[in-house]
């Protein structure tokens, strides 16, 4: 392999930028609350995301209670049911997954992994978190407004989203939701600019782009995508807000509501769908790419083997990111479109399977004959691979127009996207938390509680979503509050639904074990030391654990090798940290 600058044995390039001037906090408030340190901001992002994620978890319980035992709970009437599914979806996709991967892991890992002292604009980074918090508060507040939160479905399709038949449509719900999304986009942009510029312009000496850990590549590409995709969501939200508040007709056709002709006319609901999915499809990969990156590092570290095909992995991430901008209308097959468009979007959709499959093969080949340690991060990484393959394969079904049209409004779609962008990325989040918790706190998470958490979550998630494919295939529709008399499906689906609901409650309960573990281990966990997993990447080489403000003490790290020098033949240990110049020329980077 030809490396432009393998660096080993060569003279290092001189430092190009003088060491940054850090903001030094003067009080407890500026140190821990209004902190400009990316690591504190990361923890704030993470805590907020998990807190609002717990709301989404409870909502999913309520949804499943209704589906599993229809008619038993009077609290869950049809209106509330729609509010619950809407808020569950929106919270999970935007306020939990996006915020946790980019705001949480991005903030913590990017500066440490590229060898920087902090993000390049700490003040804007801090603002990013506080604006995100405002968005979360506005979202949560909508539960307490007259009429409650919106029940328009997480896609917020007009015209129903702003009509009186939908919960929150003529009340506050939809206004709060749209405002919250607008605020979120503004806040995210501030953080996103930081992540991108830090990766491009703030790396350590010797840290070339092709030596970045794949975690950074995943988060970086996802952030670039988010900066280009969120504008579409922003615009769609602004326009719908005007439709609702000012009576414009961007998305509203002439419409009769409750026997009354409304003032609207001439707008296009399909336009909203295009804008929404131009954001919505990249959003899937905004969540998936950081997961891809992180899982690559987890597998490599815990199998003590270099990642297979590093460059291929990088290019696959970039290509997936690019392709994901030209597939959006595959979410709109049932909206009706020119068959040639359907053909185009089906083709591009299926092409994405190629780089994605390359990634899966490379993960498996990394495991092959590796020294696999079945640690908790590794277990979650393995769980990710199987769930992702599973969800990805059903994606091939749904990417085809003729197969998608009959399946589109069934539970099959629910099963598909929960597998591929629900369960799979969340497995990675868990794995990543078990992996980096020792760096963040200095202590290991409890192994026994972790094992319970893993097995219940993994098997439980399969028990929930695997049968759901079958429900969809035999025609159980999604979005129904209650199926009622349905002679087109067998009666046994009621039992299957009840089973799924019980499993959902169980998996939810396992998450409480996890949260308890997070709190308990903070004080009682085993001391971790600086590098408990014997990993190569820079964040494990900090002089102190947890890393202090400024990360590196007096000397910035200098990088001599890529991130995957595990089990190098002839090396004294089975890993060589990225900042270690010795021993001599040993590196996979030059051999492979």
């Amino acid at each position: 392999m030809v490396d432009v600058r393998s660096g080993i044995g060569e003279a290092l390039p001189p430092p190009e930028v003088e060491d940054v001037e850090l903001y030094h906090p003067h009080s407890w408030w500026t140190r821990y609350v209004f902190s400009q340190d990316a690591k504190i901001i990361a923890i704030q992002y993470g805590t907020t995301a998990i807190a609002i994620g717990m709301v989404a978890l409870v909502l999913s319980w309520l949804i499943r209670l209704q589906l599993g035992f229809p008619g038993t709970f009077e609290l869950i009437d049809a209106e509330r049911y729609y509010q619950f599914i809407t808020m569950h979806g929106m919270i999970m996709v935007i306020y939990l997954l996006t915020a946790l991967f980019l705001g949480g892991f991005g903030n913590y890992l990017i500066p440490l992994m590229v060898g920087a002292r902090d993000m390049v604009f700490p003040y804007a980074n801090m603002l990013s978190y506080w604006i995100y918090l405002l968005a979360v508060i506005v979202l949560a507040a909508s539960f307490f407004t007259p009429g409650g939160p919106t029940g328009a479905g997480w896609t917020l399709y007009p015209p129903q989203a702003v009509l009186s038949g939908t919960p929150g449509g003529r009340d506050w719900g939809i206004i709060m939701m749209l405002s919250s999304l607008i605020i979120f986009v503004i806040g995210f942009t501030m953080g996103g600019l930081n992540y991108v510029v830090t990766v491009l312009q703030g790396r350590a000496r010797g840290m070339t782009l092709m030596r970045l850990p794949l975690t950074v590549w995943g988060i970086f590409t996802a952030t670039v995508m988010a900066l280009l995709a969120f504008p579409a969501l922003f615009v769609a939200c602004v326009m719908m807000l005007f439709d609702r508040l000012l009576g414009t007709s961007f998305f509203m056709p002439a419409i009769v509501e409750m026997g009354e002709q409304l003032q609207y006319g001439g707008g296009s609901p399909i336009l909203f769908q295009h804008l929404f999915w131009f954001f919505g499809h990249p959003e899937v990969y905004i969540v998936a790419l950081p997961a891809f990156g992180i899982v690559s590092d987890l597998i490599s570290t815990h199998a003590r083997k270099n990642i297979f095909g590093y460059r291929m992995m990088v290019w696959a991430i970039v290509i997936i990111g690019g392709l994901s901008f030209i597939v959006w209308a595959h979410h709109m097959y049932v909206s009706g479109m020119n068959p040639y468009f359907g053909f185009f979007f089906a083709t591009t959709t299926l092409i994405i399977a190629v780089p994605t499959a390359i990634k899966v093969y490379n993960w498996v080949l990394t495991l092959w004959r590796g020294n696999i340690h079945l640690t908790l991060p590794m277990l979650f990484a393995l769980a990710f691979i199987v769930t992702f393959v599973n969800g990805g394969l059903t994606g091939l079904f749904l990417g085809n127009v003729v197969v998608d049209v009959p399946l589109s409004d069934t539970m099959f779609v629910v099963a598909h996207f929960h597998m591929v962008m629900g369960v799979a990325p969340i497995m990675v989040i868990f794995g990543a938390i078990y992996h980096w918790y020792p760096k963040i706190t200095g202590r290991m998470l409890n192994e026994a509680m972790g094992q319970i958490h893993f097995w219940v979550t993994f098997i439980g998630a399969y028990a929930i979503f695997f049968p759901m494919h079958y429900l969809g295939l035999i025609g159980v529709p999604r979005r129904y509050h209650e199926l009622g008399e349905a002679s087109f499906v067998t009666t046994s689906i009621a039992e299957l639904n009840a089973f799924i609901s019980v499993m959902a409650l169980l998996v939810g309960a396992a998450q409480i074990v996890f949260l308890f573990n997070l709190a308990w281990s903070l004080r009682h966990g085993r001391e971790a030391g600086g590098n408990p997993w014997r990993a190569t990447t820079l964040e494990w080489q900090t002089p102190e654990t947890p890393p202090p403000h400024g990360n590196w003490g007096n000397e910035l790290p200098v990088v001599y090798r890529w991130a995957y020098d595990y089990s190098v033949p002839g090396a004294p240990e089975d890993f060589i940290p990225q900042n270690q110049p010795t021993p001599g020329r040993l590196s996979h980077e030059t051999v492979s």
Binding site: V4, P14, Y123, L193, Q201, T208, L209, F242, L246, L275
Partner: protein, 240 residues
């Protein structure tokens, strides 16, 4: 990007020219864009993101205009003024465009004087730019009030498709907001230049970081962008 300005205090290795140089930069450590400071890189990426915002607004407007079944009001007539008894189509928009493009000229001169460390001329030219910007926003306010007086509303107008008013207020409003923010930035930076903050290395109120003359150029990038966006709005909304 603008001509070879002063590089940040940095020594870089000698690099090959042309495509090989580009490849070398991307393959190098520390920084991908060797002459670009953090602030400038951030502004470029922000502008790319903002391009998508305006792009979505304009595409949405164009799709509404192309698909409407009701006739679209004729912009040349709607935006015509009677001046001295002469009927002049689009005259106000023409003046607004002229003012905004001129402000880009003064901004470019301000950047130039900034790199020559000429405090007074830089600040004066930035103030002039801000003045042009404010004039633009003022004329826009006049245009809005004129249309509102004639009965144009976001939800309808006397001449045709309701989306005319909706798109008009939304797009020019969003652009006008950008110009207004630009004017505020210009005033803040002009004050800093005037006071000599960048010579005395005075720290920023919010960020507590030292400012550099480069901020003039970064403000300029934003200003030129807002100007460029207006050209597209002018072409697609008024001239179509």
């Amino acid at each position: 990007m603008s001509a070879p300005m002063k590089k940040p205090a940095a020594e870089t290795l000698p690099r090959p020219a042309g495509l090989a140089g580009l490849a070398a930069d991307w393959a190098s450590d520390q920084r991908t864009f060797k002459d670009v400071s953090w602030g400038k890189a951030m502004m470029w990426i922000f502008l790319l993101s903002d391009t998508f915002v305006f792009g979505c607004f304009l595409l949405a407007y164009m799709s509404a205009r192309m698909s409407t079944a009701v006739p679209w009001p004729n912009p040349s007539e709607v935006f015509a003024l009677e001046i001295g008894g002469t009927h002049m189509p689009l005259i106000l928009i023409a003046i607004m465009t002229f003012v905004l493009i001129s402000s880009s000229g003064t901004m470019a001169m301000a950047v130039n004087y900034g790199y020559r460390r000429d405090r007074r001329k830089t600040a004066a030219l930035m103030l002039l730019t801000a003045l042009f910007g404010a004039t633009f926003v003022g004329m826009q306010a006049f245009e809005w009030s004129k249309l509102i007086a004639e009965g144009v509303r976001p939800w309808g107008n006397p001449w045709g498709a309701a989306q005319f008013g909706s798109s008009f207020f939304m797009i020019t409003g969003f652009h006008g907001t950008h110009v207004t923010f630009g004017v505020i930035f210009l005033l803040i930076v002009a004050r800093k230049v005037w006071r000599g903050d960048f010579e005395t290395e005075r720290r920023g109120f919010f960020t507590s970081r030292k400012g550099r003359y480069e901020i003039v150029e970064i403000t300029g990038l934003y200003w030129h962008f807002v100007d460029l966006v207006w050209v597209f709005i002018f072409a697609f909304f008024y001239l179509w």
